[in-house]
Amino acid sequence: MIRRLAFLLLMVAAALGCQLATATATDPDASLAHILQRVTYGPRPGDIERVKAMGLSAWLERQLQPETIDDRAVERGLATLPTLTMSIGELQRAYPRPDADTRQKLTRGDMSPREMREQYPMDKRPARIVGELQTARMLRAVTAERQLQEVMVDFWLNHFNVFAGKGELRWYLPDWERTVIRPNALGRFPTLLRASARHPAMLFYLDNWLSTRPDFVRRGGPDQGRRAGLNENYARELMELHTLGVDGGYTQRDVTEVARAFTGWTIDRPRADARFVFRSATHDYGAKVVLGRTIQYGGERDGEAILDMLARHPSTARFLAGKLVRRFVADDPPPALVERVAVRYQDTGGDIRAMLRVIFTSPEFLAPDTAGAKIKKPTEFVVSAVRALGATPDARGAMALARASAEIGEGLYEAQPPTGYPDRAEAWVNPGTLLARMNFALALSEGRVSGVSVDVGALVSEADRQRPEVVLERLLASLIHGAPSAETRAVLVAQLGTPEITRLSTDDRGPANTDVNKLAALVLGSPEFQRR
């Protein structure tokens, strides 16, 4: 095992080494910064030095094996968020939906705010569950050492998107993230796919829990005596968004057949502890023909066979490879790299780590024109700004960061369509959100985001402060690493001459007290900082 690992590290090192030699002839730190921008939520002060000391390939391999990284400090920070570790049943009991009477009063506005707080306190409402999830995501993204794990959790939460606002989902979400997404984020895709298919969150979000064989007649409940039937929602998205991709070669006929195979996959007691159950009474036991193959085990195995078949399909390999390369390399993924990553998927039976290794050691990933080619998504922008300043949020601050990210267009767990959030520049760059980014940069640097303690001054020494041009160089070095464009540098230098940025001191020792906060805000709001 150790020998295998050592060999692997050697391979990574060799591959990285030869690339870095070309890319870093001028500035090795810039290349490390580029890698950190992609593999993490952005470098914190001192990160580049730490990676250098450890060696890039050793650091990368550690990120690929998050279980080897001590992250107890983060876990302690999460201890103030009790809903994260609760089961679905515990959550349903502790944060029940309001009773009919309270609901009616709420919608009619019959209750005074005070009455509402007393009868229906904020910390007993189901909304708390989603709030704590958002808080935890932001806390982890900013402070976790297992950065690649967090990046991949975000990736898979989007890939297998479910929407917190739909029905029972909010009670299901902590369990979904804890038991389906997190343990498999760097694991094997087929395992992740199977776990997603059986979880109440997915069964509910894409309505499969309600789908039955076409001739099933309900024997009880409010719909007693009514004929139920197929619901195609999950079957379609399973192929379009989770596995094959929309051009993966399936037809409407396949969608219907897959829907038939998943009849009976449902939720037992959805409003209590909500567990997966296979109900043979609602299952369609007839043979199904999917992608030209006949499936006729009859029962739960039909769905399982389809998941296996889809996970093994070459379209799935290409679709997933394309999405990963888009995340880590470029909006328009280089086809040759996608092909290599897809082959790796096929060779390893869907090993996510193995695919990432191909990406991280590829010339495409390290090519000079890849650096800065991606526009940061709103969460990436918000988190990277906090990390770049070396700021630390408490739980309240993390919630404020989640709200800031929502204002820039990416509310966590709030993407309604099954596609999740897009990963392309055009989706995120427009005047409204650009202003929101600048406003966040200002609020953060000036210490106006409550719960986030920021000390921009710590990035520059006291002595430097009297030399504005040195202050600027320090900020540029620690916030945007690579060289800023000539225009950006010129604009920032010009700002140094304004009295708002550089206040003249009252004594005779020349300019003092550079407004580092405002200057930092300008850097964080600059075009360079919007890229990674």
């Binding site: 139920a228 197929l230 427009n430 005047p431 075009p527």
Partner: protein
């Protein structure tokens, strides 16, 4: 609150002092302010609205038969809790009652059995095809409204010429002509006092440098901030007693009305409204879909009321990626289907009429045996409205690879 040429030129002079490039747009906007421009408002109902409930074909005998629990009951004169009859064959969903007066005044028209020739039942693809305007072709870089903007005379270019009241720019508006996406007029500025230095700083950061998406967007942003401020759009409260429903969609329409009334040069606006994917428990007169339609109808009616006489210059066009199955599914809901109903509203619309050929709902009349067939290509509708209302040149390629039907629907007078 008309913006005078003088005020604009004045603010133009201020802007001139601040940035190096002459703000030609301000001068153009000042010229344009003298005549009130035409405005097209596109509304996307994302998630595939059930056109058969929005505008129910109660005259089709297969309608009630196919939907045992979710069909609307036939209209009854004087009963506003049931479907509201339009022409003896079609009826408006009772939750759309606020739109009925607009039908009576012939300001509102319906185009039924409208949709895409592409057969995909994927939300994502179908929206993409409808917004790009090229069904079946994914490589189209821009959107149909982006191309419409490009076909408008350049003399009328304002940073507010194409605006989406959304947090992300929709596919429809993408294109070289540029468009603006904003979720709130009030928050459209660099905030935090004193913001002057920060705003100027940010503005200069995006003023020069490479011609890329970020810099271009940054320059647009600050032009727009200045114009919006000088026009005072965000301070206009709803006129004529218009009462917008709470929620994002009502807010979006309220702000589009502010932009129209402030004469900032708006010609193409876009808003979206979600929650139409009613696979489960769709409801009939009451229920899930009814609630969504109530908000939808109330917001549209408030918009028309808010604009008052200005509705003469405005056309609202609603669209959705596809319709839903004719028959209800096993969960008292409907699955992804094909054609749906679209609405056109405005002073220039020849309203009070349901346009399009009705294909029928009997199983043998359906598309693939399950869906309402498309008898009006969405491009016929979009093209007619955009080219006629915005007076685009007939040669404007709004829908590449497609030629308009020889006979228009006749929606515009």
């Amino acid at each position: 609150m008309m913006l005078t040429r003088r005020a604009l030129l004045k603010s133009g002079a201020c802007a001139l002092a601040a940035v190096a490039a002459p703000p030609r747009f301000l001068v153009r906007a000042a010229q344009g302010a003298e005549r009130r421009g035409k405005v097209l408002v596109a509304i996307f109902q994302r998630g595939a609205v059930d056109g058969l409930s929005m505008v129910a074909p109660h005259g089709d005998p297969a309608y009630a038969r196919s939907r045992s629990s979710i069909a609307l009951a036939p209209p009854r004169r004087g009963d506003t809790a049931t479907a509201l009859d339009l022409d003896g064959y079609f009826a408006l969903h009772p939750s759309l009652a606020p739109l009925k007066p607009l039908w009576e005044s012939k300001t509102l028209a319906v185009v039924h059995a409208c949709g895409s020739p592409d057969t995909t039942r994927s939300h994502f693809d179908a929206q993409d095809y409808m917004e790009s305007g090229t069904p079946g072709v994914k490589s189209t870089p821009d959107g149909w409204l982006g191309r419409a903007a490009a076909a408008l005379p350049t003399s009328s270019a304002s940073p507010f010429r194409s605006v989406a009241l959304t947090s992300r720019l929709p596919r429809s508006l993408r294109g070289d002509a540029g468009a603006l996406a904003m979720s709130s007029l009030d928050r459209f500025d660099v905030r935090g006092a004193p913001s002057g230095v920060a705003r100027r700083g940010f503005e200069s950061l995006y003023a020069d440098g490479v011609q890329d998406l970020l810099h271009g967007t940054g320059r647009e942003t600050f032009e727009a901030v200045k114009l919006l401020k000088s026009a005072g759009a965000a301070r206009l409260s709803p006129a004529n007693g218009a009462d917008y429903p709470r929620g994002r969609f009502g807010e979006a329409l309220r702000q589009i009305a502010q932009l129209v009334r402030a004469d900032v040069g708006l010609q193409i606006a876009f808003a979206e409204v979600e929650g139409w994917d009613t696979h489960v428990g769709q409801g009939a007169e009451q229920g899930q879909l009814s609630n969504r339609l109530r908000e939808f109808g109330a917001a549209l009616a408030a918009f028309a009321q808010d604009l008052g006489d200005r509705i003469a210059d405005v056309v609202v066009l609603t669209m959705s990626e596809f319709g839903r199955t004719v028959a209800e599914n096993g969960n008292r809901g409907t699955d992804h289907g094909h054609a749906t109903a679209m609405l056109a509203l405005g002073g220039a619309i020849r309203g009070g009429h349901v346009y399009g050929r009705w294909p029928g709902l009997a199983p043998e009349q359906r598309y693939e045996g399950r869906d309402l067939a498309v008898t009006t290509d969405f491009r016929t509708l979009f093209n007619e409205i955009a080219t006629r209302h915005l007076a685009l040149p007939a040669t404007a390629p709004l829908f590449p690879g497609w030629s308009p039907a020889p006979r228009p629907l006749g929606l515009l007078a």
